[in-house]
Symmetry: C2
Subunit: 160 residues, 2 copies
């Protein structure tokens, strides 16, 4: 391997320090491109990727959830969630409701409008997944997932 595809893409003159570095940059670059594609799709429906994610989580759960439960299911930091929910509430896709027993907790619930928005997006989202990853065969997809999970295995959730 004299010149990898990534090296050419980045117009990089020197080869990579290590296979680890190459894989890591490949990962980031591929992810960015995926994010861009899905971001465009969601934007056509007035959503950002994060907003879609919140809605999807709420539907997956099938019931209202406290803010922190949502944060846990996302790759996100707490403070960002407040504004995120604010905007979803303004679009009337979710509602906020304070828990009566424990008044610190605020439940977030999907509205019918939110559910409808998700429904509309289901087919295009599936199609985009297919389009962007469908040219890998089943074995390759499984291997990709396995390797990515193995990478994450070295990163405990709560280190430091």
């Amino acid at each position: 391997m004299t010149h990898s595809r990534l090296q050419k893409e980045l117009k990089k003159k020197s080869p990579f320090d290590s296979l680890e570095q190459e894989a890591s940059l490949n990962l980031m670059r591929t992810n960015d491109q995926l994010q861009n594609r899905f971001g465009r799709l969601f934007r056509e429906h007035g959503l950002t990727p994060s907003q879609y994610n919140v809605l999807r989580i709420l539907r997956g759960e099938g019931k209202r959830l406290p803010c922190l439960e949502i944060v846990e299911r996302m790759v996100q930091v707490v403070p960002a969630m407040t504004g995120l929910i604010d905007r979803l509430e303004k679009q009337e896709l979710v509602t906020r409701e304070r828990c009566t027993e424990d008044r610190r907790i605020i439940y977030v619930e999907l509205t019918p409008k939110g559910l409808q928005t998700l429904k509309v997006l289901d087919a295009p989202v599936k199609a985009l997944h297919q389009k962007l990853l469908g040219h890998l065969n089943q074995v390759e997809l499984k291997e990709l997932s396995r390797l990515l999970e193995k990478v994450r295995a070295s990163m405990p959730r709560s280190e430091e």
Copy 2:
């Protein structure tokens, strides 16, 4: 495979729609965790990941570059570069200089301080790559890169 690791991580109740979706989510999640780690490292030195990236590109090139050339080498949009360079300039890590022949072009050049900052980061960055990906063997790393490049192969740079 009854429950994948990813599915458990996300506390997802239903299985994935498809292998494509699973791989895609794995990719995004792994990337986020990598980004977080490197972000923390860079922040200790007063840099964001994007800022580090700009410096690294300039060093790799070995000479000053127009803004747009830097944008091309990053996964980025033009307008963001302006502010990015502003901040690097304020930290005295790069300098801006207008080209005399074509006054539309603005060259960005690494300062000695910028070069020094990069140098300090070299060892920790390499070590972090090693730490986060070093538990995959050479064959796995190559296969991971191959699969990620194959994913990108379906995404032309300038579609739509």
